[in-house]
């Protein structure tokens, strides 16, 4: 049977529920610009009814739960895209520096090759001319200097990346530590069937930051998240985080290990993966090609020198000191300082220029690596250009995709002020109405109390 006190009680509960909903709305509005915040919903449900005979008395409303709106699948997709973007951006940043070394068609090793052969061509018009001979030595020196500085610049880009790799590892360790702390609490709440709310938001936000840095696998367990690297090395399990270690490798580059095992080569994706890709694959590949070019060019030129005679009538000595293996380009040096030692003559007579044709032939003959010196160099230009253009396209694509996904997630979980304002008005009206119910019931109760006291009517 309905009673005034039960009406009063229903209204009081409604006030409480509306108060909670207003809190939620207020919290949403307050956090509308907080990164990673997911809007919260106040979920109302009907209170259990009282059944008397044929009558089912409703018992008002209960604020069942305040729930954060999430989309796990979308979050995972965003994580993947963050890895791609992080990797592409890191690679693009490094490759921009690399391609600058090959960007001038009128300077650098490529132009030096041509200048060197031009100086030999100039000498062929007057093979005994000392100024022209000095011109050949100067051009050879310029070539050696540019080989040296190209390799040095690649080396310093590589060691710069190495420092970034170390920083990335530090960032990863800090993040996994923070995630583990949050994860422990989130796990406990999940076990109790509670919505992790703000803590869940913060954890998801940190996992996205971690995804920018490296490829992270996420597994949802009843104890919260388990995070591993791409090849399964654990990073976070429950409330525990596992730090990655850095050790100096034999080549002077930093190796990354987990629990004593070297996992450098298995780390992919994210900024760390991108930096490692350039540091360990792209730059070493370029260095090998430049070293081969320097050493094969030296061998060919020296062989051509040896087939002729210098101004003293002696067999030609090496023009460049022989160089091979890693660092060959850096170590390239002009071996002679005396211009009369250039072996222009093919028969020992001073005025012969016959052997210069052999030196000039190096310009067009294929080196053992398959192409002539300039073609080999221009292939480096197109390689670095292609790689840079490709990663640039990757950055653009992953950024667009990430924007799209974030926008999708934002539509789902973002705070929409119009919606919140509407809710605010609804809850305000509901609160006011419930308050009016209280006033009304109060008046009715007064009437009941006044019954038989001679006082008639409500106050």
């Amino acid at each position: 049977m309905g009673s005034l006190s039960s009406s009063m009680w229903i209204a009081a509960q409604a006030l409480e529920a509306d108060q909670g909903a207003l809190d939620t709305t207020s919290n949403n509005i307050a956090n509308q610009n907080t990164p990673g915040y997911s809007r919260e919903l106040a979920l109302f449900t009907e209170a259990a009814p009282t059944i008397e005979g044929n009558i089912n008395y409703g018992n008002g409303v209960v604020l069942q739960e305040i729930q954060s709106v999430r989309d796990q699948v979308l979050q995972l997709r965003i994580g993947e895209e963050n890895q791609q973007q992080g990797s592409a951006q890191a690679q693009y940043g490094a490759l921009q520096q690399v391609q600058n070394l090959f960007s001038s068609p009128t300077q650098g090793v490529g132009a030096d090759f041509t200048a060197f052969f031009n100086s030999i061509s100039q000498l062929s018009t007057d093979p005994t001319n000392l100024a022209a001979r000095q011109g050949v030595l100067t051009a050879a020196q310029n070539l050696a200097t540019d080989f040296h500085s190209t390799e040095q610049n690649l080396d310093s880009i590589q060691s710069g990346l190495n420092k970034t790799v170390q920083q990335n590892v530090t960032q990863i360790n800090t993040l996994t530590q923070q995630i583990a702390q949050l994860n422990e609490k989130v796990g406990q709440m999940q076990k109790l069937g509670q919505d992790p709310g703000t803590l869940g938001d913060q954890e998801a936000q940190l996992v996205q930051q971690l995804s920018q840095l490296t490829n992270v696998n996420q597994i949802q367990t009843e104890n919260g998240l388990t995070l591993t690297t791409g090849n399964g090395t654990p990073l976070v399990v429950g409330g525990q985080s596992f730090a990655l270690q850095t050790t100096a490798g034999p080549s002077g580059m930093t190796d990354i290990s987990a629990q004593g095992q070297d996992i450098t080569s298995s780390l992919q994706g994210g900024q760390l993966g991108g930096n490692l890709q350039i540091r360990d694959t792209v730059i070493p590949g370029l260095l090998t090609q430049i070293d081969n070019l320097a050493s094969q060019f030296t061998t060919s030129i020296n062989a051509a020198q040896a087939s002729g005679f210098d101004l003293n009538g002696k067999a030609g000595q090496p023009l460049f000191t022989d160089t091979s293996g890693p660092g060959a380009a850096s170590n390239l040096k002009v071996a002679i300082t005396d211009p009369s030692l250039i072996a222009a003559s093919s028969d020992g007579t001073l005025g012969s220029n016959g052997n210069l044709a052999n030196l000039l032939a190096v310009q067009t003959q294929a080196l053992p690596s398959g192409a002539n010196p300039l073609d080999t160099y221009s292939s480096l230009v197109s390689q670095t250009g292609n790689l840079t253009a490709q990663t640039q396209a990757d950055v653009t694509a992953s950024t667009a995709s990430l924007n799209q996904l974030n926008s999708q997630l934002g539509a789902e979980t973002g705070v929409n002020l119009n919606e919140e304002t509407t809710n605010l008005m609804n809850y305000q009206r509901a609160f006011q109405a419930a308050a009016r119910v209280v006033t009304t019931v109060d008046a009715l109760t007064q009437s009941v109390l006044d019954m038989g006291s001679g006082v008639t009517g409500a106050p």
């Binding site: 921009q96 132009a111 062929s124 018009t125 001319n129 001073l350 197109s382 390689q383 950024t399 926008s407």
Partner: protein, 297 residues
């Protein structure tokens, strides 16, 4: 359908892209180049390396051509002086074969021919920028010295080497004839003929003087034939110069096609990016104040 209330990152990204386009267009306009770093067009950047190499090679070929032309012209005019001197010697020979002349007259003529011999040896020892032009490749010392022990009256110290110089890709030109071929060739030996004429004038008969003069005429013809080598080399160099200049122009055209910016397109791109940016900013300014709160009092 819900929409993302936080549209600023998307719009900022759009603005960022528009600014990138704007900067690209400005850079193209400023440098006149479409390809400023290899990633702008990797294939074109690599082709540009080749193109620049070819251009600088053509410049070098032009230098070679101009340098050689000076030397070959000098050689040609030296041989022209040789021809003039030989003609004088022949006239003297004809004069000397006249039976009316006295012995002392002939001795006088012989002396004149001897001085012509000296001149011709000087011409044969002509040098260009420190190198003797008619010494083969042994060109650092004078190729001919007067030597009375030799039947021809001179000794050749040079060799028979020749030099070739590349004047265009795959095209070389021979830059000298050995002195032995010009002045002591099988088809007409200038030096020997001169010496014979001198000997005949000094102690021979009118018949022997006449025979020596005829022989000298043959030698003159032969030298003139050799001179054609230098003449044709000079005209070859002239033609080559024209060819190389055309090559320069065509390589420059090729370069522009490869990496040059299309100014009209770049300017259009720039104004398009600016328009897009203005529109985005205007839209942003319109959107931001819009909210339900504006209408609640």
């Amino acid at each position: 359908m819900r929409v993302n209330p936080n549209y600023t990152p998307t719009i900022l990204n759009d603005l960022w892209q528009q600014q990138t386009q704007e900067q690209t267009a400005i850079q193209e306009l400023a440098t006149g180049r479409r390809v400023n770093v290899p990633s702008d067009d990797p294939a074109a950047a690599a082709a540009d390396v080749q193109n620049q190499a070819l251009q600088s090679q053509v410049d070098q070929y032009l230098k070679n051509t101009n340098g050689l032309e000076g030397m070959l012209q000098t050689a040609d005019s030296t041989l022209s002086s040789v021809v003039t001197a030989l003609n004088q010697a022949i006239s003297l020979g004809v004069q000397g074969s006249n039976g009316d002349l006295s012995t002392s007259n002939r001795q006088e003529i012989a002396q004149q021919v001897q001085s012509i011999q000296g001149q011709i040896v000087q011409f044969a020892n002509a040098s260009y920028q420190g190198s003797y032009m008619f010494a083969g490749t042994a060109n650092q010392s004078a190729p001919f010295t007067l030597d009375s022990t030799q039947p021809s009256g001179v000794r050749y110290n040079g060799n028979t080497g020749v030099n070739n110089v590349e004047i265009a890709q795959g095209r070389s030109i021979q830059t000298n004839l050995p002195g032995s071929q010009i002045f002591q060739g099988a088809g007409g030996d200038v030096m020997a003929s001169l010496q014979q004429l001198i000997t005949a004038l000094q102690s021979g008969t009118t018949t022997s003087i006449g025979a020596a003069t005829t022989q000298l005429g043959t030698a003159l013809n032969y030298v003139s034939q050799q001179r054609v080598f230098y003449g044709s080399a000079v005209s070859q160099l002239n033609a080559n110069q024209t060819y190389l200049q055309q090559e320069q122009v065509s390589l420059q055209t090729q370069e522009t096609g490869l990496v040059g910016a299309d100014m009209a397109t770049a300017a259009t791109d720039l104004s398009r990016a600016q328009t897009a940016q203005n529109a985005t900013l205007a839209a942003l300014a319109q959107i931001i104040p819009q909210s339900l709160l504006n209408y609640l009092k």
